[in-house]
Symmetry: D2
Subunit: 342 residues, 4 copies
């Protein structure tokens, strides 16, 4: 049986990535696409790489008849999302890709996003969408909050280590390298090709990146006490990919075992043999995440590296993985396509 899907905010990169994935998904069908500023346009003129597909034109959200929709992906900008979802039917299944429902605590939301949440009841209802760790809740949820792409990467590297108690919780440094598409399709001078290409830099340095809110929430919850990591993202001149290089205190063998054990049955999470390291090029365009563990020359210090594609496993692939669970489908349905290399 085919499930009918709406994508709200389909004119951004995560929207286009959802369409790309659903195009070969055996059980999902794109039934509606919204894009406020581009309403009335065919999707193929907004994203010519999708022109071969038989897709509905972009419309305004209010033009969509949600009674025929089985699940909606919300790929709207932060803040917009909570306002829109509050107006949608309360029985509609929703996977939200924005930051609006990632933080469960209203105070934490206000701290990181600068103003009170506009839909606190929905905030309470939402399930955090890191599939491999919230699987049962997601399957039963109506509203799932997709994680930040950086937040997903860091959590895949660290959650099993905190759960297993094999690292020092006060000494975690995450140096993260993110590709350009993570910044979205917004018109900013520093995202121009001529500015960005052939150079790289750190941004949001010092612990001010909003994805830290997710790390704090999740790591503290696992540990049962406050955990604050250091986190420095860098913008790298490549379109896709996140690489987290995490410096921890703990025994490399124990750390590797904790990860390997935890992910032994996960389709999309691969722990490399100890000493091997991942590369973003080897997961590009796929829903896979590669994780490596290397002992440092300094006793008791270990480096954990995780690589995934920010648009796929970090965002739209994760969203489809969650939707599969919510719709009672195989979790990996439509997501087994291989990475694109070179």
């Amino acid at each position: 049986m085919t499930h009918k899907i709406a994508i709200l905010g389909a004119s951004g990169y995560t929207g286009a990535e959802l369409v790309r994935i659903i195009a070969t998904h055996p059980d999902l069908e794109v039934a509606a696409l919204s894009g406020e500023r581009k309403a009335g346009q065919p999707m193929g003129s907004v994203f010519p790489h999708l022109r071969h597909l038989d897709l509905p034109d972009l419309v305004k959200i209010e033009e969509i008849d949600f009674s025929s929709i089985d699940l909606a992906f919300c790929a709207l900008p932060h803040a917009t999302s909570q306002a829109v979802i509050a107006e949608l039917p309360r029985d509609l299944k929703i996977v939200d890709l924005s930051a609006d429902f990632r933080l469960r605590d209203p105070a934490a939301y206000e701290k990181w996003y600068g103003k009170p949440h506009a839909a606190p009841d929905l905030q309470k209802e939402a399930v955090y969408g890191l599939t491999e760790f919230y699987r049962d809740k997601i399957a039963a949820a109506r509203l799932v909050a997709g994680t930040g792409c950086n937040a997903a990467t860091g959590q895949y590297a660290l959650r099993p280590l905190i759960e297993a108690g094999v690292i020092d919780l006060d000494e975690i440094i995450m140096d993260l390298k993110c590709g350009v598409s993570g910044a979205g399709r917004s018109l900013k001078e520093n995202l121009l090709h001529a500015e960005l290409s052939e150079g790289y830099h750190a941004y949001s340095v010092g612990g001010v990146h909003r994805h830290l809110g997710e790390f704090d929430q999740e790591f503290s919850a696992i540990a049962g006490r406050p955990v604050e990591v250091q986190f420095t993202p860098h913008l790298i001149p490549a379109n896709r990919g996140i690489l987290a290089t995490v410096y921890v205190r703990g025994d490399a063998a124990s750390i590797h075992r904790a990860l390997a054990d935890r992910y032994a049955n996960e389709t999309f999470l691969t722990v490399l043999p100890i000493g091997e390291t991942p590369s973003t090029r080897h997961i590009r365009g796929s829903n896979h995440c590669h994780i490596g563990v290397v002992a440092d020359r300094r006793e008791g210090r270990t480096i954990v590296l995780a690589a995934l594609d920010n648009l796929t496993k970090g965002s739209s692939g994760q969203a489809v993985q969650n939707a599969n669970l919510m719709l009672g489908l195989d979790e990996d349905s439509g997501l087994t396509f291989a990475p694109v290399f070179p």
Copy 2:
């Protein structure tokens, strides 16, 4: 029913691309992989982006039991291919991705490749693999010769125009821009990232590129008289993609109509509305080809542009498309995945 596939020469880019495609193909299964220098290694260590797949290890060709193989792809270097195929069982279905069987005329082969063909009987047997134009012959063939990636691009732009008689056959100039992966995985100084990135240049200038042999053969056959195009390829700092900019004499509307009519029912060939132009980014990683037609300001001069992915539609995707026909499958089976953008 699943067909068992061998890929000979699986350690190059076209070999990896075949595996990527077959990974989600409903009817094909990789049963054997060969790689002379890398025999004994798992495919996942030669191509870590394929490490999540359950694949046979690389072996030497002589280790493969071809009695259980339904079809072999040969992704071997030029000249090696003819020697290897001559030794394979004569009833084995083969799609060859090398240049060895593209030219039907032994003299033409010797002219362009510098020495006599080593397997002239096979050369005679081979069917030229430009699917949309040799569909019936391919379906009945045992040995199909994949086209050059540049040669495919240029032919998609020009064949219908020669067939329809809407252009001047003596005034065809093809300026082609090719991505880096077309040069393969060979260790050459000018293919290093530091050499290639941020620069571009023409190569094989003056009509010496071997794909001209294919243009000459095919265009002359259609026209029933010798046709010699001008052809200048350029190397562009992008991994995938070919863009052919073809300058012809003829009426733009007639030219557009000839292309649109000819490709109206082709899944993978899209003729854009007149005046629109294709981009390699919009077909990247897919089996699609976009074609545009624009009238020049000079009366009677028209520019035809065609874009495809050299590794997919220009090589491994084409090979699977042909294999589908040879195995009695739907021609587009396993090939409908969307382009990857950004």
Copy 3:
């Protein structure tokens, strides 16, 4: 003696390139910088790569005391430039980098730029700034119009051939590949790194690019009769560089000789040995232009290739070269820095 320089419109790429060049110029000194929207900011915050230099802050044009300025570079947007220059002192030496004064004929200007020229007297006064061909006039000029970067590249390839009468004037096709910085620092979706990188396409296809106005003007003037070339630019994912691939009718040896003779004494124009071809990577960041000539396999057809850096020889380097002449300095003063490779 040091000459005091003002740069109007210093917040764009050509403005920054002027500062880069002048930073090591022995006889020029930056005395004033204007930038309307960024007035009040230090140049080092608009362009951090220039932060080590002792530069005046950006101001509004009206704040500049031109009585102490020896020469002004205008790197303002098209149309703005003519309005601004009309208000500047009439004895101020000016090199304009915009398109406003490139076309001498008011009708041609209106045709290509869509409205009448606002300063026709200045249009009449302006000298076309292709240094090697207008040297004497430039030395005596007060107002010099920098050429289009594409226009410069194409003219270096073609002017000596038209002068020498060695090519067919009705059969000139110029296929040009331009780097990204040529599009400037404007915020357009298609200039984002995620859109542009790893893909390429033709634009302004069919003879509608404004630089054709310059080709028409200049080539017709040399030939003494109308000459209309075909011209198709392509956008390539590299920051700097223009490569013109020009298809002409004529004997390769004669063509090579015409170019080699004409440029024998030019510091910045190098004609490669016949059969060799240029690459943009070999002139990147410099004021040099490399030109190659190759005979096609088709008798009487020749390919001429020219490569230069759009920001340097195509724009700001040319501007300094002209300023040197206007100020009585050595023409190559401050311009002999080598290309940056890799």
Copy 4:
């Protein structure tokens, strides 16, 4: 007075960069170029971007008459360099760009490079070439050992902090991102454009990179006790640039002050205002190094970032800076060219 320079090993990137710099150096002249495998070739065919220069052809080292040479740059491969230098005249001034003379302790050399040093007397003689910290010794030296490019970057960030005692010496983590040219012009599969572009990864993870030998030597010497940092380099798809992100314990304001005070009079080392961060694009192609300091949200933790161009300030620019001192010239002579952006 012009000093005559020989460059041994001129066919690699650092050799070419030396030529680029010397091309506009007022007091140096390239008098001899060696390249074993390319002996007999003009430099302009090995590096076409240098073809406009009047340079001697490449020769074998033994063909050079060193009696007329004032100073030789050795840009030879590691291990080769010590053998070659041992045979050169003992009164010839030499700046070595290899790793052969960076480590003063024979045991440390053997530990990091895997075999005993072949010229221990020269090893003893050599002065470590980090200009701003060994200025007087370099001025008096005959043989100067250029630093590793990563090693230079990390030391610029850390030396003043160790000297000033403002950081915890046992808690230093350096996460470094290096451009491609740092790997040289060697033919390795993982350096091909198709492999490298659009992806990134860590390498030499766990404290095995040889530049750690330099960090250990230098930091321990300053501190007067063993200091071992953690160091993880990453390969980034950009041609030039190194960015070191250093995680330290200490007060950000004290750290910023220590750096700003130490570098207040350094031409090429710029400490940004506290809270600002450097980018490799802003020093590309120049001899400048930008350093930033940001306080982390975690009390007492600070991030120090340093960016330089591996081929210029990290290698050939540093070498010329040292040569200037050794020849009694102004230290910044020929090195004041601005970065190339975009």
